[in-house]
């Protein structure tokens, strides 16, 4: 006769499992709780400050009043500048690695170096940007220097997501196109890129999210504590949202009085990240089903 009923051993195993799973569930939910605490706290405080004036006016009275318009503009410039640099190069690099180069030493080196670049702390990018762009190339503290520094930081992000996107394209599409006598580049441009386009854009959006919040790389390459005017050329300094949040919360003229501004700035940063994530996830979901033809 076999014994398959509940017995002491089975009960003890089940009890242990129930306890373990309960602990894991609680710990996991506490992470979600942490996220919600951070988000709700900043949004609750920030929402009282944010209005049209806040995002369209210059700071006033030692940045304790007024808006954050120049910081928003500065961040927009930096995001645009860094993406103009990093997006095309990143996509081209990924195309080369996924479509052109064969497995071997060269590919290994490029891959390893891209990984290494991705692992370098952002403050080291700041040091590098300062010594190369600001000092060596004499760009000075400028949008150009800041954008290039941020662009280098975003490069591995763009390369990786683009590579993923290209890998997801079924090989039969390539073979079909090459079989019809198309060249490699024609195949890439007319077949592979259109199919992977939505996923590549997802990468772009994530890179924008990342770049808009980075502070350390712009500390010594572009960011200004306060500027009475908006930048007029790429050789001007600029204010930026993350740096603005940093200075008014740690070293402003009057930290207590500028707290509301800080909450507002933090909320704007959170909103940018939220939008980027939602957009990226939405795109992924929307096009994910379309691309999966294999």
């Amino acid at each position: 006769m076999i014994d398959i009923k509940e017995n002491k051993l089975a009960r003890s195993k089940q009890r242990k499992q129930a306890i373990a799973f309960a602990i894991f569930r609680v710990l996991s939910y506490s992470i979600v709780a942490i996220l919600f605490i951070i988000l709700t706290f900043i949004i609750m405080k920030g929402v009282k400050v944010i209005n049209w004036n806040f995002i369209t006016q210059m700071p006033e009275e030692g940045m304790t009043k007024g808006g954050i318009y120049p910081a928003i503009i500065g961040t927009l410039c930096l995001v645009a500048g860094s993406m103009i640099f990093a997006f095309p190069i990143g996509v081209l690099a990924a195309i080369y690695m996924n479509e052109y180069v064969k497995d071997g030493i060269a590919k290994k080196i490029i891959k390893q170096m891209t990984n290494n670049l991705a692992g370098i702390p952002s403050i080291v990018f700041g040091l590098f940007g300062m010594s190369l762009f600001v000092n060596k190339l004499h760009f000075g503290d400028s949008i150009l220097a800041g954008s290039l520094t941020l662009g280098l930081l975003a490069l591995p992000v763009v390369i990786r997501t683009t590579e993923e996107a290209l890998k997801a394209v079924d090989n039969t599409f390539r073979q079909a196109s090459l079989g019809l006598g198309a060249t490699k580049w024609q195949t890439t441009r007319r077949v592979v890129l259109p199919i992977s386009f939505p996923n590549i854009i997802t990468g772009l959006i994530l890179a924008i999210g990342r770049v808009s919040g980075e502070t350390a790389p712009i500390l010594f390459t572009v960011a200004a504590y306060f500027l009475p005017k908006l930048p007029t050329s790429i050789f001007d300094q600029a204010m930026a949202l993350p740096y603005h949040l940093y200075v008014i919360s740690t070293s402003g003229t009057n930290i207590e009085e500028s707290r509301p501004i800080a909450y507002g700035t933090a909320m704007v940063l959170i909103i940018i990240v939220l939008i980027a994530n939602l957009l990226a996830n939405g795109l992924r979901k929307y096009f994910g089903n379309k691309v999966k033809m294999n």
């Binding site: 076999i2 014994d3 398959i4 009923k5 051993l9 089975a10 195993k13 089940q14």
Partner: protein, 250 residues
């Protein structure tokens, strides 16, 4: 009394029916082969005997499966205890990332055996049962991944034997093995019959003929024919069985 009985078993994945009204009775200490073209439901059916299909969400079973007269899907049945009594060997050798010794000891340990001596004894007898002892006795502390594919599969059988089940399920156990390893495993199945009731899924007709006492032919979720292996292979009653066995489709 039968060792395993299957009474009016229907099985559903969501809304699609995978098995239709299966009735089988299996005698103790026999080898039963489940054959049929891929997708016919034979593997699904095998996995009902140790409730492996419970792992997949959204499934439904009606009818009864009895082992030693006990309904294994009844309330109050503990799945872990059931699986302790119904061992399983899989398609590909799947040893754990542990030593050879620990692989075989695993089932004992998870079932609460702590007596060191008993564990050592059981490990040794189980490995001897699968005729692997001479090959591994000097490297029991080495990783199981160091063994060849055939050795790994025999180790997996030893692993199943160590907790002394009375039924052993085998899901195409030789499909990933070379001919020599295959014949070793087949010999083993023949040996094990004296102690265990064995149900084996195979798509290899000769294998079913060589090792089994009874054979069940499945087609599209239905049990087409169930009889002595000899009868099935020499004198099937149903034409579709004959067509399959003679290789007209498959």
């Amino acid at each position: 009394m039968y060792k395993i009985e299957s009474k009016n078993v229907d099985f559903f994945y969501g809304t699609s029916q995978a098995l239709k009204n299966i009735n089988i009775a299996i005698m103790q200490n026999t080898v039963t082969a489940l054959i049929g073209p891929s997708g016919c439901g034979k593997s699904t059916y095998l996995r009902l005997f140790n409730r492996m299909n419970d792992l997949i969400g959204n499934t439904k079973l009606t009818g009864q499966i009895l082992i030693d007269g006990e309904d294994i899907y009844a309330k109050g049945v503990n799945v872990d205890s059931l699986r302790k009594n119904v061992g399983m060997v899989f398609q590909k050798p799947n040893p754990f990332p542990k030593t050879i010794f620990e692989n075989v000891a695993y089932g004992l340990r998870v079932n609460g055996v702590t007596d060191k001596k008993l564990i050592e004894e059981r490990v040794e007898t189980s490995i001897k049962q699968v005729v692997l002892w001479d090959e591994v006795k000097d490297k029991l502390k080495k990783s199981a991944f160091e063994l060849s594919g055939g050795q790994q599969q025999r180790l997996c059988i030893a692993r199943a034997l160590a907790i002394q089940p009375s039924v052993i399920l085998m899901d195409e156990p030789t499909s990933a093995l070379d001919p020599i390893s295959t014949s070793k495993v087949e010999e083993l199945i023949y040996e094990l019959k004296s102690k265990y009731t064995i149900v084996i899924v195979t798509h290899n007709m000769q294998q079913a003929g060589r090792v089994s006492d009874t054979t069940a032919f499945f087609y599209m979720g239905e049990l087409i024919e169930y009889d002595n292996t000899k009868t099935i292979f020499t004198n099937p009653k149903i034409e579709r069985t004959q067509n399959y066995i003679t290789g007209r489709f498959g």
